[in-house]
């Protein structure tokens, strides 16, 4: 009798405990170590801040959110294993995407197969969105192949026709993301790695379309490359007036900038695919002057989103981030914050954590009824790419990352400094 009572009491206590600790579990596998660790660590901050703020405001649908983060060491196989673990062992209700196209591409298959909404904070390669996946949603303005359109716009709209760069050196990391931007700039064909089919022909390429001749192009391996000065010397010897360095990480951006400074390269214009991070300025100092990089977010852009059903502006995000981490955020924290906002809104919109319902709700967003984040409004096309969102072009001036383009979208656009006065 006593034993039966004990069992009943134990079961009741367990049920009570379960009921009182109901929570929504969200998994995120991030590159906290390895070559993407800078961006990965900042993504962790963005996700954590967002979940903290949601929980402080009562959670989602009355339930607290539990965030499970694992370090995938910048390794695709580990990222796959960790997402499978989230799904099969932790049985998470939803996931947040990881950083970089290299990791996001294989992960997309796992999440699609298991029916999960896959919100990507990074992973701009077009090939990710042409696999026929139904539940991918990219939280940046466009696929990486189209970043070159913004560079073209900057040159055509902001530089006098008689003083534009006429030649370009395009160097790139042999990386998913960098290769994608390169394809758009150089006008090569984007093919599906699975069956070799044509995804998109980017010809003639944004640079040629701008009237710029490519005088040098080169790739470096994605890991273990140390010969930066030799590469910078080759760029300098090409005499290119525009240097395009498609780096995969802030670390590479620092290395190529210091090498160009060492060889005393003197281009008119420099554009990098990475370089919004404070670590870039710390590592390069004055050599960063006039360097341009595209970005999806800037602290001074007056975006306004929603969090826990209340208005939440970009400035609110900056203030909250500074309060929690005692430093300024950059886009690597802002974008995942927006991903978190999107997932929160999709759960609220669906009324549950049914990923099918969440995906349907996200797909139903329009320009007039979008997901509202600190990166602005999001609605997606059938591939999962955002509709009608321009990239911002930012430029380092006087140690500050200012946004310079587009000039007609927001107030507070800074003047572009041009030409660059050496490194």
């Amino acid at each position: 009798m006593k034993t039966s009572k004990a069992i009943v009491v134990t079961i009741a206590a367990t049920l009570a405990a379960t009921a009182s600790t109901a929570e929504i579990k969200i998994g995120a596998s991030l590159p906290l170590t390895g070559s993407f660790s800078i961006a990965g660590s900042k993504h962790e901050q963005g996700y954590e801040l967002c979940v903290d703020l949601i929980n402080q405001r009562g959670g989602i649908l009355g339930e607290q959110v539990k965030l499970i983060i694992s370090d995938n060491r910048s390794d695709p196989a580990t990222a796959i294993n960790q997402f499978e673990r989230f799904i099969n062992v932790d049985q998470v209700d939803a996931v947040f995407g990881t950083f970089s196209s290299r990791l996001s591409f294989p992960v997309a298959n796992i999440l699609e197969k298991n029916g999960y909404v896959h919100p990507l904070p990074a992973g701009g390669a077009l090939r990710i969105y042409t696999q026929g996946h139904e539940r991918v949603f990219y939280f940046q303005p466009n696929a990486a192949e189209y970043v070159g359109a913004t560079l073209q716009g900057v040159i055509e709209d902001l530089v006098p026709a008689d003083n534009r760069p006429t030649t370009a050196a395009v160097v790139a990391a042999d990386d998913f993301f960098a290769n994608a931007i390169e394809a758009g700039l150089l006008g090569t064909k984007v093919t599906d790695p699975g069956d070799g089919s044509l995804v998109e022909d980017m010809a003639p390429g944004f640079l040629v379309d701008t009237g710029i001749e490519i005088v040098y192009s080169e790739k470096w391996p994605e890991e273990g490359f140390n010969d930066w000065i030799n590469l910078a010397n080759s760029i300098k010897r090409s005499g290119a007036e525009l240097i395009v360095a498609l780096t995969a990480s802030a670390e590479e951006t620092v290395q190529i900038t210091r090498a160009l400074q060492t060889v005393r390269a003197e281009p008119k214009m420099v554009y990098y695919s990475q370089g919004t991070q404070s670590e870039f300025y710390e590592g390069t100092g004055d050599a960063s002057e006039s360097v341009m990089t595209h970005t999806s977010w800037h602290p001074e852009v007056p975006f306004s989103g929603v969090l826990a059903g209340e208005e939440f502006t970009n400035q609110d995000f900056v203030d909250a981030f500074k309060a929690k981490f005692e430093e300024m955020p950059d886009e690597d924290s802002a974008i995942p914050f927006a991903v978190c906002q999107g997932i929160e809104q999709s759960i609220l919109g669906a009324g549950s954590t049914d990923n099918g319902e969440m995906a349907a709700w996200l797909k139903a967003r329009t320009n007039d009824d979008p997901v509202r984040t600190i990166l602005g409004r999001f609605s997606w096309d059938s591939r999962g790419l955002a509709i009608d969102k321009p990239f911002l072009m930012a430029q380092w001036n006087g140690g500050e990352l200012q946004f310079i383009y587009p000039t007609d979208e927001f107030p507070g656009v800074a003047m572009m400094s041009y030409p660059k006065q050496g490194f």
């Binding site: 170590t33 660790s37 790739k219 140390n226 000065i229 030799n230 590469l231 210091r258 590592g283």
Partner: protein, 293 residues
Amino acid sequence: MIIDIIQILALGISLGGVYALMGSGLSLVFGVMRIVNLAHPAMIMGGAYVAYWAFRLAGADPIAMLPVAVLILAATGLVLYKLVFEREAQSARYSEMTVLLTFALAMVVEGLLGAMFTNTQRITSPEYATDAYFVGDVFVPKGQLFAAVTSVAIISALALFLKYSRFGNAIRATTQNREAAQLLGVNVNHVCLVSFAIGVGLAGAAGALVSFVFSFFPSKHWEWIVILMSLVVLGGMGSVLGTVLAAFILATASVFVGFYFGATWSTLTFFVALFVVLLVRPQGIFGEKPELA
């Protein structure tokens, strides 16, 4: 054409000087103790962080901070040897055991550095780090040059110490024949202890130099181990002189390949060298051919 060759040699030799110091500690430890110290690049990272924080907090020049990095890392080496390696010295499978031990040690060091300093990339920026000497069309990067000169000075001092000091003779004797050295009264355990500390101290010195040549973060050491192993294998396992020579050869070869065939292939130089040497001359340039049992 001649200008190009001179430029390649200038870049290759200056880069090789940096690699030489990075690899020499690894080679010394293997020569004396038969430990393939996979944690050596992680120790280099430790030295780089010493230089970084001294530079960031006090504006200290990384080269001036080199002795401090050496002392801190050498002391770490002493403790590690006592805690980790000494007790395994009598094991019949010592060499195999130490591969696993140093692999684990590398992961522990990486984790500790990450916990202490975060995983963000760091680099020191003394003025010479991004400057160069120009002679006509040829240039030599000051950062790499200063690092190479410092590296050669340290390795020369090490060579003199090994050749002319009593303790250096004991180290060399242990390297050549551990049992014979022991029979002649050399305290082999003490030699191993000091050699390991010197090896790790050299990693600290290399780290101080690396801090302004390459950016670094805790897990960066995995990228360096292949380069360092290829130097040690080409030079001859355990030969410090061979490692130094291999560093200059392979660095120049990689610059040559990068210059004429593109950056994509320059890193491959080290991998190819590793495979070719193991296939053609496994004992390397200065190593001894292993005796058949």
